[in-house]
Symmetry: C2
Subunit: 343 residues, 2 copies
């Protein structure tokens, strides 16, 4: 399919209709909700055409069928990432990334197989010059607003140079998307002193200290939610675990409240009364509010969602892609890394 050039002032976003545990329903519905909300989005759906049309009919959704990019194959959630890209060249994930690579689209959004999505984005879209390893960030609610944590999943066993690149990219993101003037950067460690850390963070500390970033030194686990840094840097293994730990907190809270309610009728009443307020306050701890997470460092906009994404989550992912486009994130990262290498 050829995406027409007439809409090139708009942000051309392709949504993976086959991505996620509740695909194609949630993906299709969420994508259309987003393009209804933001008229500057030029939406395309990639996936098995007849299944997409079935959802459109069932949910009575308006969508121009000529903007469905048909693919015959589907990368399943359990498929091995690298192998599936080779064995399924006509899958929604491979084709979606290829459209961005070919400049036929600006962004690709998927709640499908995370590993395949990361690998496809990195290999097909390619890395921005100067990026050794792309990174996934996450936004945590914090007493000072938002804390951006990099990396939360793309890179395990990171080298010090990788941590440094995460910081450069995270700062660009926090500046543009979070409207933070001069984001402060903290290195996640076991103590605030420069001497505290593991082999990798001790070496990364030196790189960050010698850079022109607003580096405030080591921060601790507690500083993600209550700390002084706008951007916190860690290895992807650590960040992935913290992200998932954080996401599980509301479920534990619900359980603890239920246990309390079981023991006393008065408490049960009070909990019932305050349920709505609690839910409202915890909104920011809910990843569905944020949508998925962008993979920074690739040559294009790639947003990766949870397998369990609701249509609301998909909608927010698409809106985020559009915002990243408006802020020209990709070229900003490229320029910042260039500048940093010249220093």
């Amino acid at each position: 399919m050829n995406i027409s050039v007439q809409n090139q002032d708009k942000c051309r976003i392709i949504v993976d209709a086959m991505g996620g545990d509740f695909a194609p329903q949630n993906a299709v519905e969420g994508a259309i909700l987003a393009s209804d909300e933001n008229k500057n989005i030029d939406l395309y759906l990639v996936g098995q055409k007849e299944k997409i049309i079935q959802v459109l009919n069932e949910k009575n959704l308006q969508f121009d069928e000529s903007k469905i990019i048909h693919t015959s194959q589907v990368i399943e959630m359990g498929d091995a990432a690298a192998a599936s890209l080779k064995s399924k060249p006509d899958s929604s994930i491979v084709v979606g990334c290829q459209y961005v690579k070919d400049k036929k689209a600006d962004a690709f959004v998927s709640a499908g197989n995370t590993g395949a999505m990361m690998t496809a984005s990195t290999l097909i879209m390619g890395r921005i010059p100067g990026v050794g390893r792309p990174t996934i960030g996450a936004e945590f609610p914090s007493t000072r607003g938002i804390c951006y944590l990099y990396d939360v999943g793309a890179g395990k066993d990171s080298k010090p140079q990788h941590l440094f690149e995460y910081a450069v990219m995270g700062v660009i993101y926090a500046k543009a998307m979070g409207r933070i003037k001069n984001p402060s950067v903290g290195l996640l460690s076991m103590g605030e002193e420069e001497s505290k850390g593991n082999e990798v963070t001790l070496a990364a500390y030196k790189l960050l200290k010698d850079s022109d970033l607003n580096f405030i030194g080591n921060v601790e686990g507690r500083d993600i939610l209550n700390g002084p840094a706008d951007v916190v840097i860690c290895d992807g293994f650590v960040g992935n675990i913290i992200l998932k730990f954080g996401e599980s907190v509301p479920k534990l809270l619900k359980h603890l409240l239920q246990e309390t309610a079981k023991k006393s009728f008065i408490d049960k009443l009070k909990i019932g009364l305050s349920k709505g307020v609690l839910k409202k306050s915890l909104k920011n701890m809910d990843y569905q509010e944020h949508g998925g997470v962008p993979l920074l460092g690739v040559n294009g906009i790639s947003i990766i969602g949870h397998g369990s994404s609701t249509s609301k989550a998909i909608k927010n992912m698409v809106l985020k892609a559009s915002q990243m486009y408006d802020h020209q994130l990709v070229s900003k990262i490229e320029n910042s890394l260039k500048k940093n290498q010249n220093n």
Copy 2:
């Protein structure tokens, strides 16, 4: 000072009166609260005698002054761990550990300099045969009750064999202290599949799989609070960060509720009404309820508390030491490691 032998059926616990940000007040008060609550505790206080007596007088606390072990030096919170043990041989931490080493006491409890306390316990009390590296565990509230996380601070850059030992020790602790029959063990990683993990966890997976532990495979960040494992194993760098992150959640919650209350008077009323219930439910997320954390793998009972420990936290640390004594934790770990090496 010679601790009399007449009380050897009791658990002889030495509390570091100089340990913690609010020492000697909180340490002295908490220790006496514990010995009031459990008459099987034979309590000793170590530290600067005149300061301890001053607290006893000010707070009008009954305590036999002959059970104060006077030390002239104090390891400050900011002192370098290893160096301070050499330069301050007559400090409460060094002397407390030496008493346990010399079998003149069964347990030493301190909220002082964590690094110094870990180093002193390891070097002076010595390691249990078969232990390459002692470990600090933490108890997380979980939808299934309690999840024991090892390691949370003693060992960064752990080798696979260290992770394996943490599992052996954690299981003993969960069995004895948590009354769990056959604790299930999960290895903290980025995904459940055996192939997911970093270099160290991939190798540790094999050791755990080949052991006689009830190993259930990899678990993820979300599984600490909501998962299938009684004991979760990770490197100390990761565990320390998760522990501190978890401890900071209630503070964020409070902040989020306050923000909600600011926006609506009705919500403010509802939050006011439910404050007590929330606090009750969150009790288990409060480290002060648990007291400090034991250092497992050393030849004696060593409990390390937060610098900011309240007297309640100190009390719970002392009570925990007494429980560990009753369960003969040290000899159980020694026997289990012996058995494991014979396998």
